[in-house]
């Protein structure tokens, strides 16, 4: 921050440049995860994908991006033009704003606010508004279905996410994601999923509950990003493409990008809260500000890989079963964990 400030003696330009850094990260990351998803899907399905553009298809994501950029921008005749144009922007803004509080490294966090986790969950709701807008503005009954289902789904799954965050907050005492990560610094034993840097007895008692909480956070994060088994919002076999049906070209690319960015955000949330964020699992070996970025991205990427793996294996749930899972299965379990963690911490 200070280094760049010495180059350009203007705080405003510096701030703008730094806020564009996550955008660069998102774009590069989207290309990588696009390639990963297609290749992992192909190998699960016993076929190879993308062998022609570049060595084993490495240049394919760039080709996809170029294709989407140069497509014709079609807006349906009777669609609500203003909302139609606004929807992808709002969805992307909701996802992008969350990157302000992700602790990429010990020296780089966009905005070191004391309400980090709370802000992340709150701003994620903006994506719901964007999707609902897209479903309505398309003037297409199938898109409307997709939008309405999305609203029901994402609202239901914010409860388990928030409860999981509350459990971590009880252990660490702060909502600031940077401080949560510093709390877990010092090797794999200090990660909250294994109980946090607390005395042995408390750790042992906490461990089952934190592992369950991590698992539930993982499940509800899959639901937040609308991926199988919770992808009835864009269920290809029923709703053609859900709220996405009428979108093409750059607008579709923005939805697509925001879906992948959201994927990283929720994985990163889980990593920052439970798996130690940017701290190295080996304590002081391989740790430092630059290593921090590597660890953070690598851990989140493992979560992303697991989500891709699940997507290509399981069928999808129906909307009422999905809401049932959220309200009647995940939330009661989290209440149990909440009670247990609270009790253990008091004792």
């Amino acid at each position: 921050m200070e280094f760049i400030q010495t180059l350009l003696a203007n705080e405003l330009i510096v701030a703008v440049l730094l806020s564009l850094l996550p955008l660069v990260f998102i774009i590069i990351y989207a290309l990588v995860v696009l390639y990963t998803e297609m290749k992992v899907a192909a190998h699960i399905q016993d076929r190879v994908a993308y062998m022609r553009t570049g060595w084993h298809g490495l240049l394919q994501p760039i080709a996809d991006m170029l294709k989407l950029l140069q497509k014709e921008d079609i807006i349906p005749d009777k669609a609500d033009k203003f909302l139609f144009r606004l929807a992808p922007i709002i969805a992307f803004v909701g996802t992008y704003a969350a990157y302000a509080v992700l602790p990429f490294s010990s020296i780089f966090i966009g905005s070191d606010i004391n309400l980090g986790a709370f802000f992340l969950i709150a701003i994620g709701s903006l994506v719901v508004v964007g999707i609902l807008m897209a479903g309505w503005a398309s003037n297409n009954k199938w898109s409307l279905f997709g939008g309405v289902r999305a609203a029901a789904q994402m609202i239901s799954y914010e409860i388990p996410t928030a409860l999981a965050v509350v459990i971590v907050v009880m252990i660490t005492g702060t909502l600031n994601l940077q401080e949560v990560t510093i709390f877990q610094d010092g090797g794999i034993g200090n990660w909250i999923v294994f109980g946090g840097p607390l005395p042995w007895l408390q750790k042992l008692m906490l461990m089952p509950f934190t592992i369950i909480t991590l698992f539930i956070l993982f499940v509800s994060s899959i639901a937040e990003v609308n991926r199988t088994p919770f992808d009835l919002v864009e269920a290809e076999s029923e709703l053609v493409q859900g709220f996405n049906t009428e979108y093409s070209g750059m607008r579709f690319a923005m939805f697509y990008l925001s879906e992948y960015a959201n994927l990283f955000t929720v994985s990163a949330l889980g990593v920052a809260l439970f798996l130690g964020g940017w701290s190295s699992p080996f304590g002081s070996f391989m740790s430092g500000p630059v290593w921090g970025i590597f660890w953070f991205v690598a851990k989140a990427y493992v979560f992303v890989l697991i989500q891709i793996w699940i997507r290509w294996t399981l069928p999808r749930l129906r909307v009422d079963q999905l809401v049932y899972v959220s309200w009647k299965v995940l939330t009661p379990w989290l209440f149990v964990c909440l009670l247990a963690v609270g009790l253990i911490l008091v004792l």
């Binding site: 016993d46 009954k141 992808d231 999808r316």
Partner: protein, 396 residues
């Protein structure tokens, strides 16, 4: 502008009012949605007009005819009964061998031709291989309908091996023109028997893998059990046949109950749905009946390969096909989808006077409006998928 067809009667959507706890009234209305001819999951060009109340389906009206290719009119203008066989292929294009066989059987009975035993055994082997291939498509696409994209790829790997066998024999992978009236177009090539035996050995564990991946998956069971229940008496009244009828608990299989060819010499069992995961006659039952039928087909193929007699497959093919005047016959066979029947009427000339093809998919689809009432839209996709229609047969 082409006007799309509308609902049959003067249908007016029901409107209602809901009173909220604050005293305001919200106006509600049913919605008419089109699951139109172009849709990723209607398995072809089928238009379903659905009246929904939220997500619950109140009524469903299927509109068919988008793939009508005037098979019956074409038959009247053929100059030879053998020329109908390629057209019969193209009706049920996912199960062409069984379509051809039904027509050839009808013509042979009308002309009182007796085919050599080798021909019968080869026809049985081909039909059972075709049944497996067709059920693999059904299972794979059913997985896609429910969101699991991977089983589809696995079933198609297995299906490729069957299509290799067919290509080896008659040169075609999908539409064969193989089963002729009075015999077959080609005899089995030298390597067929060992390759078929290899396939049987290879495929048996794959069925178990497919069941583990899809049929017994908790989410899949939750989506399909107790959904789209077709009661026994409704099924019989609507003349449903094939795996759909057996899934509802009716033990009726034309290979055993109206026997033709050499099925009575082979040991196998028709599979019946028992309601293991829900009610008898739900979507899961139909799906598992198909999976189990594939196993039975493997048994039949094994036995037929072992007992294959020698002979000339073209010995009984007639030079001229000219049935007697006013001869008519209705023959029904068990194709992959159910009872495929041909009603042929002859007027003494070389072309048929009237051919009526009773497609099982046409009849099985007619029961759809009865079983979707009260289900959700997500269920509609699965129910339509469990009926396993092929639009070529529905529309002919």
């Amino acid at each position: 502008m082409l006007q799309p067809p509308t609902l049959p009667t003067d249908y007016t959507v029901k409107q209602g009012h809901i009173k909220t706890s604050t005293g305001k009234t919200i106006r509600t209305e049913e919605m008419i949605i089109n699951m139109g001819p172009q849709h990723p999951s209607t398995h072809g060009v089928l238009r379903l007009e659905i009246v929904v109340d939220g997500e619950i389906i109140v009524d469903c009206i299927p509109h068919i005819g988008y793939l009508h290719r005037c098979f019956e009119k074409h038959c009247e203008h053929m100059t030879n009964y053998q020329q109908v066989i390629p057209y019969a292929d193209r009706m049920d294009y996912c199960s062409a061998m069984t379509s051809e066989w039904a027509f050839a059987l009808a013509a042979e009975r009308m002309l009182k031709i007796e085919v050599p035993e080798r021909v019968e055994y080869i026809r049985v082997i081909m039909a059972e291989l075709q049944r497996i291939a067709s059920h693999l498509i059904a299972a794979g696409t059913y997985g896609i309908d429910s969101g699991a994209f991977t089983p589809f790829l696995y079933t198609f790997i297995d299906r490729e091996k069957i299509l290799d066998l067919f290509e080896m024999t008659c040169g075609a992978r999908l539409l064969y023109n193989y089963i002729w009236i009075g015999g077959l177009s080609h005899d089995l090539p030298p390597k067929f028997i060992e390759q078929a035996q290899e396939f049987v050995k290879y495929f048996r564990p794959r069925i178990k893998m497919l069941n583990d991946l899809l049929s017994y998956n908790e989410i899949f069971v939750k989506r399909t059990a107790n959904v789209g229940v077709l009661p026994k008496d409704v099924a019989v009244n609507y003349a449903v046949s094939g795996p759909q009828l057996r899934g509802s608990g009716v033990n009726w299989d034309l290979r055993r109950d109206d026997p033709y060819s050499v099925y009575h010499k082979l040991e196998w069992e028709p599979q019946v749905g028992k309601g293991e995961m829900g009610t008898v006659g739900d979507c899961w039952d139909r799906h598992i009946v198909r999976m189990r039928e594939m196993e039975q087909s493997l048994n039949i193929i094994e036995q037929a390969l072992a007992g294959l007699p020698e002979g000339n497959v073209k010995a009984a093919i007639p030079k001229r096909i000219r049935p007697e005047k006013d001869a008519e016959i209705y023959v029904r066979t068990e194709s992959s989808r159910g009872e495929l029947g041909y009603y042929i009427v002859s007027d003494g000339t070389a072309s048929p006077f009237r051919v009526k093809a009773r497609g099982p998919a046409f009849v099985n689809l007619s029961v759809l409006p009865e079983i979707v009432k009260g289900a959700m839209i997500a269920d509609l996709v699965l129910i339509a998928g469990s009926i396993d229609i092929v639009l070529g047969e529905v529309d002919r």
